[in-house]
Symmetry: C2
């Protein structure tokens, strides 16, 4: 697994971009250099290996295209969210400006397709269709996420659908692209895609839980960050779904209060979550999606030992930082 | 020619986009409905016909992808230029907001690739490479255009290179994609691409001239708009290149003055252009690029009558509104 991640990191690091115009290519180089775990492109390689691709490097262009796409979406999301930091460093619109962030994001998206075009022409049509389907869904998910910020209450179905589109389909697509390159049949392509989608939802639910309950020393972000900005995570959506009428004013007061108004906002919200067992609901749903994912993986008709890398990777990611 | 434009307009009009999320798809529908002459996708069809494609509708996906790409670039350019109007209607960021404009532009770019993927798989690899090369160059051109806004003086070479990237390569690419689909050989692909690039530069030079000298009744935009905002058109770049030192203060005063400071700004700048024969230089360079373009077209080894549609279209566009 680590050799696959290194293959990707090295390849991205060795990618040559033109020097001019500097305001287009410097931000692209900068953002790609911020790193990240390169999990999505690794999934492409893992799936390709799993389905017996001859040369793993044949899947490298598709893997890189997934990583470039992911970075494109982060650059533009950071603009839309007005985020000052990404991986502890200034975001592109902060370090340069809005226009540079828009255009270098566009450039990254084109570069994603440019990498894809380096794949074996035999598979490009199928790769492109999978990539486009997923890319459009990620845009839909981002739009829903923004829409829901201004919506008082959303249903759990709406929430799950939003995170499915915004974060999970890309994991599914990354895996499917590896499967396409290794000539997996359509049924196995569908199964590995669904594995990615379900495991992606499980990851996101875990992220929502960790934001409130993670270990401050290993989580990497401020604990309770989502709570302080009233972000509609699984926890809040679930609470709003099951809260009793008598507790509604308490919740409303907490949502109306900034940390300045109420220094105990984080603690009080956690108490409310506690009294409704919200964390247990989240853990349970995460487990259900994990199980659904592994059922899909089991249904893939290849020897079990070939599935090991993917199982190990997923399991590691599902117990991180807890 | 008109039947080709109708083919495209009808096909775009009949394109089905999902209804949800409305803030993603409504702006895409809105912007595509603003129309335009659909010249770029028509070029794809004209080239495909010229090189004897069997069924012209086989080139429709590639043609539409060119038009979607063009619209994507307009939506994002309008944001970067803070433009309130496009084709007399509110731009996307004005009618909705910044975030919607960024994301629906992204969506249009993905849709461009999505249309491309509907082409015959045999040609997709070549189409994708041509498309990506051109798309990246358009981004480069847009960045240079923005960079040059904050540059006191640019050379004529820089100016021509900027308009080549920002506007001309897309015409070349549109034609080349039609040629690819009709199985033109590489040498003819290169020639038709270069025809498009050169004729595109000629169009842009004409646009620069028309902004100052066009017929107000047919030009469609405000005459002198570029002059009033000191836009670095061919006319201004050329003037700055050849102006005598004794006239420099006069130019500098004009550039420093808004229309409020100097209601005669337009008239005075036109006088300055006149005294240096700037329009004649522009017309001459336009003619030189037009000639270069037609030389490339002549070199294509097919019967002359097959080139007629492209010649007629280019000639019409090169004498419009004068």
């Amino acid at each position: 697994m680590q050799h696959l991640q290194k293959l990707i990191s090295d390849s991205i690091q060795n990618s040559q971009f033109p020097n001019q115009p500097t305001n287009l290519y410097d931000p692209i180089r900068y953002f790609l250099s911020l790193g990240g775990k390169r999990i999505r492109p690794a999934l492409t390689l893992v799936a390709a290996e799993m389905f017996d691709i001859g040369e793993i490097t044949d899947a490298l262009p598709a893997a890189k295209s997934i990583e470039y796409f992911h970075n494109f979406s982060l650059v533009h999301d950071d603009v839309m969210d007005k985020a000052p930091l990404r991986r502890g460093k200034a975001t592109v619109h902060e370090k340069w400006d809005l226009n540079v962030a828009i255009l270098s994001g566009d450039g990254l998206l084109v570069k994603a397709y440019d990498e894809l075009a380096n794949s074996n022409p035999l598979y490009i049509s199928d790769l492109l269709k999978t990539f486009n389907r997923v890319a459009m869904q990620v845009c839909e998910g981002q739009q829903l996420d923004m829409d829901y910020e201004h919506t008082d209450k959303i249903s759990m179905d709406q929430y799950i659908e939003m995170i499915r589109l915004k974060t999970s389909v890309l994991l599914g697509g990354a895996l499917q692209m590896g499967a396409i390159l290794a000539e997996a049949n359509l049924s196995d392509q569908k199964l590995i895609y669904e594995f990615g989608e379900y495991i992606g939802i499980a990851f996101q639910l875990q992220d929502d839980v960790l934001d409130a309950y993670g270990n401050p020393e290993t989580f990497g972000k401020q604990i309770g960050g989502d709570i302080l900005i009233n972000k509609k995570t699984y926890l809040l959506v679930k609470l709003m779904e099951i809260i009793k009428e008598e507790d509604l004013p308490r919740l409303q007061n907490l949502l109306n209060a900034t940390i300045q108004d109420n220094p105990d906002k984080l603690h009080d919200m956690l108490s409310l979550y506690q009294s409704y067992n919200i964390k247990e609901y989240a853990d349970k749903l995460k487990d259900a999606y994990t199980q659904r994912a592994f059922e899909r993986l089991s249904a893939i008709n290849i020897p079990n030992h070939k599935k090991e890398t993917l199982i190990t990777l997923s399991t590691q990611l599902l117990i991180r930082e807890q």
